[in-house]
């Protein structure tokens, strides 16, 4: 008998149709991957199972959990079900834990709530559960607070809270999206192991096909509130029939057509750059220690080249980016652009116009109070003049938007459109180098494929060079000529992208590449 059985579930919120005729079932110990792009309704499906729908929602159809229909349950009964029969893991481990409680208290709270255990017994159980989630007690005592743990360790605590009552069903909503690839691999392995050990059904919601294909027994592909295709995990890429599924698969492995690497002239050269931050003083009179974020880094980026910089969070990528952009003081070393040294003074303005940047978050990279024409014209400050109307129009057209968009505010655009606007802003003063700081990380796969194509086109059209910074190795592999691997402030490996990926020399690079989920392995 299946643990979760959804039949013909439809959902409307304030009259807007969100879900249409969703049917799926998960048996004990099975992992079911629910894949879709943002807005496809995958999270709403999970909330419908938990009966945590927003106000104004009207659901029809049947949802049964371990043979019991949840649609007709009263809220009080549903509360005992949540946490005990169904556990849930959310995307963001930074906000899913209460920062004021230590990890023992958070896990024990769940246990005490459902089992009416005494405090001390609940703590003993909490310790066991954390141990199962690979947080051994001698290294991670129960008295640790969330801020003392890394992102992956926090996610383990969240998982521990979800599985503390040995639920029959675990709903994991993008559980690894916010994590680094090596951590992601470990967390997925953990979920798989727990599902096997406890005969627990898992509903794994994600936008990343590669994450699911290697792991899930069954896969459902969602689009606009409908399941367009269902199939066996490992077989799906061979059995798929729906055009959307095919589009999704091809977008995930999308390879933009690019001209090959450019000339030998060094456009950007970074020589022995070191950046460090002062840490907080430990005692009043002690000289504060410094954290070295970028340690003696040197590399060159050639004209017309696309250079990748990969590394996990905290490795110093962002600091290095800011140092190159002249936003961060250098402790030592030099940054040269086109042969001229950046001095960190007002004289740099002429140099800086050769270099622009696109940031990761399409939502916070624009001043919400300005209209698009003013937003994308901002770099003209470097030229000391204002933008002409035709220059604004041209920039918008070159990124695939319409000139009439310049009258709009930024909140009127979707994430992908915003990233196009960010590229227009970088492009408008015709720089030679654009730094892409995780520029496609926050986008859905099909949008990401479009943006990567756009970048490849623009690179040819305006003979641009890119410094492509990302933690997503599979994307870097497809769009760069050479790649730098960074770890703990140092560059540990450099080389031709294909060379590095097929024959990594450094052990860290090998570990990194091995952790990347592969579509073709499925």
């Amino acid at each position: 008998m299946s643990v979760l059985q959804i039949e013909n579930l439809s959902l409307a919120i304030h009259g807007a149709r969100i879900l249409r005729h969703i049917s799926l079932s998960i048996g004990p110990g099975e992992i079911h991957g629910l894949i879709g792009e943002s807005g496809s309704g995958k999270s709403m499906t999970a909330l419908a199972v938990m009966q945590l729908l927003p106000e104004g929602a009207e659901a029809s159809g049947a949802v049964s959990l371990a043979g019991q229909s949840v649609v007709t349950l009263r809220d009080a009964d549903m509360c005992t079900l949540r946490g005990a029969t169904v556990g849930m893991v959310f995307q963001e481990p930074m906000t899913a834990l209460n920062p004021l409680l230590n990890i023992g208290q958070q896990v024990a709270e769940v246990i005490a709530l459902h089992d009416n255990l005494s405090r001390s017994k609940a703590f003993v159980r909490a310790a066991e559960v954390l141990e199962r989630c690979e947080l051994p007690r001698d290294q991670f005592p129960l008295t640790r607070y969330p801020h003392e743990l890394s992102g992956g360790q926090r996610q383990r605590v969240v998982i521990a809270m979800a599985i503390a009552m040995k639920p029959k069903l675990l709903i994991a909503d993008e559980p690894t999206t916010a994590l680094d690839v090596t951590t992601q691999a470990e967390i997925l392995k953990l979920i798989k192991r727990l599902a096997d050990e406890d005969e627990m059904a898992v509903l794994l919601i994600t936008h990343d096909l590669a994450v699911v294909t290697g792991l899930a027994d069954d896969i459902s592909i969602m689009r606009n509130g409908e399941i367009v295709e269902q199939g066996k995990g490992a077989m799906l890429h061979r059995t798929m029939t729906h055009p959307y599924t095919k589009a999704l698969f091809s977008a995930s492995g999308h390879q933009p057509e690019r001209a090959q690497a450019g000339q030998d002239r060094a456009l950007l050269s970074v020589e022995n750059v070191t950046c460090s931050y002062a840490l907080p003083r430990k005692t009043l009179l002690q000289v504060p220690e410094r954290f070295i974020a970028v340690n003696d880094v040197s590399f060159e980026l050639h004209q017309g080249e696309s250079l990748g910089l990969v590394g996990e969070s905290g490795c110093g990528k962002s600091t290095l980016t800011r140092a190159i952009l002249g936003l961060e003081p250098l402790q030592s070393g030099t940054v040269r652009l086109d042969g001229a040294e950046m001095t960190g003074t007002a004289d740099d303005l002429a140099l800086r116009r050769k270099m622009q940047v696109v940031f990761q978050d399409p939502y916070s990279s624009f001043n919400p109070r300005h209209k698009v024409d003013r937003l994308i014209a901002e770099p003209f400050h470097l030229l000391g003049r204002t933008a002409r109307m035709d220059e604004i129009d041209e920039a918008l057209v070159s990124v695939g938007l319409s000139p009439t968009d310049k009258e709009k505010y930024i909140h009127e655009f979707s994430g992908g459109q915003r990233q196009r606007i960010a590229i227009a802003r970088a492009l408008i003063i015709r720089p030679e180098l654009i730094i892409l700081d995780e520029a496609v990380t926050a986008l859905d796969v099909s949008i990401r494929a479009q943006i990567l194509d756009l970048l490849a086109d623009l690179s040819e059209q305006f003979s641009l060079s890119y410094l492509f910074i990302s933690h997503d190795l599979s994307v870097v592999r497809r769009v760069t000529d050479r790649v730098l691997v960074m770890r703990a402030g140092r560059i540990v490996e450099t080389g031709e992208t294909e060379q590095v990926f097929t024959n990594p020399q450094n052990p860290y690079t090998r570990k990194l590449i091995a952790a990347v989920p592969q579509l073709s392995d499925a």
């Binding site: 800011r322 952009l325 936003l327 740099d348 303005l349 800086r352 270099m355 622009q356 940047v357 940031f359 990761q360 978050d361 916070s364 990279s365 624009f366 001043n367 919400p368 109070r369 300005h370 937003l375 901002e378 770099p379 003209f380 400050h381 470097l382 505010y409 909140h411 009127e412 802003r425």
Partner: protein
């Protein structure tokens, strides 16, 4: 939206009354008519007359002028000095400039405002101008703190980074990017301080430290009428209501304005 309309209506009533008093009042508020004293509200005197036979409606209208003048200038001092200080502190966060500005603010905060007002009057004599200065000084740290706190979070945004990449300096970023994004908070704080200014002016006048006779003031009207409260309640009631409704109106208007000024909320439809 309903709050905004109600708030604007009350504020407008108060502003129109004050503006109208320059051109016309039902009676001259300086003329005494002792034979006609303490009359309850009638058609001829809608709010009645006070202990010296003056028309209370006329006095409230002229008194509104005093309140507005004191509150506007006091808020102006607060915004004019507090906001630039707050922006400077946020722009130089963590440095000694930030420390000097914020600790200076703490210093002013440490003194009760009425106490300082009494001190100023003790030295320079009571007048509306001294009341303005006393209230205004205490608005500076309020605005500096609100500005700094809000500005700090804006400084973390990527679009500030983008502006720095475009070579813009601290000053320019503060004015172009930070200020418009914290304007809604400042407007709300401004209306709240405006209403607090009206209250403070009334309090100072009540103890005799604000505007001096014959200039009418709501606070002094309350003070003058308190001994007669049992005989003629209307002479306390009307100035009291004027203060309450004005303060309420300004608060409602400030809250509604904040929602209206934010393009994101405006688009979602109120």
């Amino acid at each position: 939206m309903r709050n905004l309309i109600l708030g604007f209506a009350l504020t407008a009533l108060f502003l129109i009354g004050a503006a109208l008093s320059f051109l016309w009042t039902p009676y001259d508020h300086t003329v005494l008519e002792v034979t006609n004293k303490l009359k309850p509200p009638t058609l001829a005197h809608p709010f009645g007359t006070d202990q010296l036979g003056r028309d209370i409606l006329s006095m409230i209208m002229v008194g509104a002028r005093t309140s507005i003048a004191v509150a506007i200038v006091a808020v102006g001092i607060g915004i004019g000095l507090g906001v630039p200080l707050g922006l400077a502190a946020a722009a130089s966060r963590g440095s000694w400039i930030d420390e000097v500005i914020m600790r200076g603010n703490d210093l002013i905060f440490a003194f009760p405002s009425l106490l300082i007002a009494i001190m100023i009057t003790a030295v320079f004599g009571p007048s509306a101008v001294n009341a303005i200065i006393a209230i205004g000084i205490f608005n500076i740290p309020v605005f500096a703190r609100v500005t700094r706190g809000a500005a700090l979070s804006i400084w973390q945004q990527d679009y500030i980074l983008a502006a720095r990449v475009a070579g813009k300096g601290t000053m320019r970023i503060s004015v172009e990017h930070i200020l418009p994004n914290i304007a809604n908070l400042l407007i709300v704080q401004g209306t709240i301080q405006f209403s607090l200014g009206i209250l403070a002016e009334a309090a100072l006048s009540y103890v005799g430290l604000g505007a001096q006779p014959p200039v009418p003031s709501w606070g002094r009207m309350l003070a003058d009428s308190q001994t007669l409260f049992m005989i003629a309640p209307h002479i306390t009631l009307f100035p009291g209501c004027a203060i309450v409704l004005t303060v309420l109106g300004l608060n409602l208007a400030g809250d509604g304005l904040r929602d209206l000024l934010d393009p994101r909320i405006r688009r979602a439809g109120l």
